[in-house]
Symmetry: C2
């Protein structure tokens, strides 16, 4: 086996863990499954990490920090704020359809974090991050559409996150594209009503 410095090994293990969680669920993300995916030995695992819990914590932190602005991207298109919101939500839906396992993994990691008091802050941080990204996109959209949010934009963002969560969960179970599009349409409708002309 090639000799790899510990910091790089940590990153490689986190990546391998994400693949395992995505493909088989967090319950199957054992230390042995992770090192097998990474092509290492168990000793390398505990040389890079003190414990499996430490790896999971870093996995959550890393994956949250890496989260991009999938919802409501830069090239906002549409006639008015409602169209722009719907286009953004549909684009998120495409992202979900392209890699369902990743979103399912995120969902499982959230639930996992929710179950232990010391990990709960990680889940809260995850949603804070989502809110931040959502608020940024919502601000940009309002700017382009020439409207202002009548509610604080962070509040609007939290509602947006709730809607995308619901869309994600429902589609992961039913795989019903029509319903997902209907949800996107209805959500854009409701959100656009929280804005008013500038």
């Amino acid at each position: 086996m090639a000799r790899i410095p510990a910091p790089e090994r940590r990153a490689a293990l986190v990546q391998a863990a994400l693949r395992v969680v995505s493909q088989r669920g967090i319950a199957h993300a054992t230390t042995r499954a992770i090192v097998a995916e990474a092509g290492m030995s168990l000793a390398s695992f505990h040389y890079a990490f003190d414990s499996r819990d430490e790896l999971i914590d870093e996995l959550i932190t890393t994956v949250v920090a890496r989260e991009q602005e999938a919802v409501l991207p830069d090239d906002l298109q549409g006639h008015d704020i409602r169209d722009m919101l719907e286009a953004g939500l549909l684009r998120y839906f495409e992202h979900l359809r392209a890699d369902p396992e990743h979103e399912q993994a995120m969902l499982e990691l959230t639930q996992y974090a929710l179950r232990s008091p010391e990990r709960h802050p990680l889940a809260v941080a995850q949603y804070a991050r989502y809110t931040e990204l959502g608020a940024r996109s919502l601000s940009a959209a309002a700017e382009l559409a020439g409207v202002v949010w009548s509610t604080p934009v962070e509040q609007v963002a939290r509602v947006l996150i709730a809607f995308t969560d619901g869309l994600t969960l429902t589609w992961l179970v039913t795989r019903d594209d029509d319903v997902a599009q209907a949800v996107a349409h209805a959500a854009a409708d409701a959100l656009s009503r929280m804005a008013e002309p500038r």
Copy 2:
């Protein structure tokens, strides 16, 4: 230990399993944890059930079948369809606040079922049941409000389920009552727009 016929023991074990999953998560719902909660011995478990998987399957089936019409109850109140929908969603939210662990358990069971091909149908059935309950309530609400759904009521119900899912997930993480109420308000807004005067 009192002698209990196997069918009753099955029911008692399912109840105990639900309590364990609610309080500690499905990962901690081991056979030993379940029989301890039920006050039985391990032998009684495998006398009533062939395997732990069989118990979990019956738990999901039971808990889904027992699910009541928490969303949009009988005593629908409000001036118009929008008010009625918001009142119903807020009532669901009260139900969520009263027993968060139960909804968290439902969420975990869904995710668990989603992870194995042979259990996937259980998750789909769970959502079919939700849709059925939602459609019934939506029909009743439309009747009282003197409107008709311009989209098939099952479709509206599926959107409603997505919204309640999102509300649930977000609130379970953030415990932010204000956001939950904003979500309920926005969701009622969007849903009411899928109805038209009769």
